[in-house]
Symmetry: C2
Subunit: 218 residues, 2 copies
DNA sequence: ATATATATTTAGGTAAGCCTAAATAATCGA
DNA sequence: TCGATTATTTAGGCTTACCTAAATATATAT
C-alpha cells in the first residue's frame, strides 16, 4: 500500500480512541494502519515532536487539541467527499470509501467549503456517519445495532458501518438503505442473527451483519 | 513546496517538449519543477530505469511510449478536474489550476470516467486546452496568439494560457472569456501591445497579455 | 584552437516512512 | 512475587526525493 500520511495516523488514533476511550496503543494503531509496530513507534515520536499527540512510551498515545482539530478536518473532508461522490457523481455507498480516503488529503479549505455548499451542509455522510462542522465539532450519534433490538420493535436505519464493503453491498442489493424502516421479526440467540421485515419481505441478517447496522426507534 | 511525483516529472517533460520539439534538458526541467538541477538528474535516472523516459547524459530526456501514455493520463485528469470544478463547483478559470494539480494524482480510472460522463465528454478545458481522450489521444490545436493577429481582423478567443493567473484574472474582470468574439483595433509595434474591441469597448492588452491569448479567425 | 563560461553530473548528506530482528519493559498466571 | 508470555521499543537498513558544492562536460568567443 501507499505510505500513510500524518493525517492517516491522526485519524486512526481518533477512531480507535472513540472505540476504547483510553490511550491508543502503538500496536493497535499498527494493525489499523497495516504497518509494522516499529514503524508506528517511529512515526509517533515525530508526531509528538510536532505537538499533534502525547506519547508516553509503553502507555500509548492520545491526541492533543491540535491533533483532534486535524482529525476533525480530515474526517470532515472524507465524509463530504463521500456524500459528494454519491450525490453528484452517481457512486453507490459501497464504492466511496477508498476514493474519499485519497481525496481527503488533497482538499483545500476552499474546496471543502464548496463541497459543503454544493451539498447544502449535510449533517451525515452516505453511511449515516456524522460530518464534523467547519469548526471541528462532531456530535457522535449513539445508535443501538440491530443485534441489540427487541423482537417486534420497529426501527429506522440510522447508520451502517462503512468498514466492510460486503455489508454495504449486501444491503444495497436488498435496497435496504439509510432511513428505511424495518421491523424485527426474530432474534436468534444461538448465533446472534436476526430476521427483519422490510417491504413485505423477510430478510435474514447474520450476527455480523446485525452488529454493523445501527438503528433508531421508530 | 511538496515533493514532485513521477507524474509531475513526466507531465513537465511532455509540456516542455511540446514547446521546443527536441529533448528536454535536465536544467529546464529543474526550473520548471522548481527543484535543484542535481535532483532532476537523480530522478531522471530512476524514471529511465522504469522505462518511462530515455535519458542520454548531457543530452536531455525524451518520453518513451509508456511515458507519453502516463503524461496523457495525467493531463486528461487535470483538465477534467478543471472543467468539473468550474461547471459543478462554481470555480472561476483562474482558481482551478492548483486544485487540479493535486486532484489529478489521486484520481482512479473509475473517477476519471465519472467526471468525464458528468461533463458530457468535453473536448477542451476551461482555458481552451484540449483534453486527451480516454485512449490517450490529444489533438493539439494550433492557434495564433493575439500578438500575431492582423489589424482589423475579427477573431474568436480559442484558448488562454493557464500559466499565469494574472492574465486569467484580468480577462475575467473584463468578462473576456472563452469563445468571445473580438476585433483587432490596433497593433502597437513598439512594445507588442494590442488594442482590441469587444462589447463596444476598447480594451488594452499588453504584449505579454497578447502573447498569452490565442484565437481563431472568425 | 584554446581559454573561459555555462550546463550537467557526481558526491555526500538529510528527512520521512517503512521493514526486520533483537532487546527490553510490562503484565499475567501460579 | 517470580518466571514466562506478550507488548513495545531500539537498532540498523532501505528507498524516495530532495539539497549543496565540487567536479566534469560542453559550448562559445576570440
Amino acid at each position: 500500500m501507499q505510505n500513510q500520511s500524518t493525517e492517516d495516523y491522526i485519524k486512526g488514533i481518533y477512531q480507535l480512541r472513540r472505540r476504547t476511550g483510553a490511550a491508543v496503543s502503538t500496536s493497535d494503531l499498527a494493525r489499523h494502519l497495516k504497518v509494522g509496530d516499529g514503524s508506528v513507534t517511529d512515526m509517533v515520536k515525530r508526531l509528538s515532536a510536532k505537538k499533534l499527540l502525547n506519547y508516553v512510551p509503553y502507555k500509548g498515545v492520545t491526541l492533543t487539541e491540535v491533533g483532534v482539530k486535524l482529525a476533525m478536518k480530515t474526517i470532515r473532508r472524507h465524509r463530504l467527499w463521500e456524500m459528494f461522490l454519491v450525490r453528484h457523481l452517481g457512486y453507490s455507498w459501497d464504492e466511496v470509501h477508498e476514493e474519499a480516503e485519497r481525496l481527503e488529503h488533497v482538499t483545500s479549505l476552499e474546496l471543502e467549503e464548496r463541497l459543503d455548499r454544493a451539498l447544502g451542509s449535510p449533517s451525515v455522510d452516505p453511511h449515516g456517519d456524522p460530518i464534523p462542522t467547519r469548526e471541528g465539532e462532531l456530535k457522535e450519534l449513539i445508535h443501538p445495532s440491530v443485534a441489540e433490538c427487541r423482537e417486534g420493535g420497529r426501527y429506522r436505519i440510522a447508520r451502517v458501518s462503512d468498514e466492510s464493503p460486503e455489508v454495504l453491498q449486501y444491503l444495497k442489493k436488498l435496497g435496504l438503505t439509510l432511513n428505511k424502516r424495518i421491523a424485527i421479526k426474530q432474534m436468534i440467540k444461538f448465533d446472534g442473527s436476526v430476521i427483519v421485515e422490510w417491504n413485505k419481505r423477510e430478510i435474514f441478517l447474520s450476527g455480523l451483519m446485525a452488529r454493523n447496522i445501527f438503528v433508531e426507534e421508530a
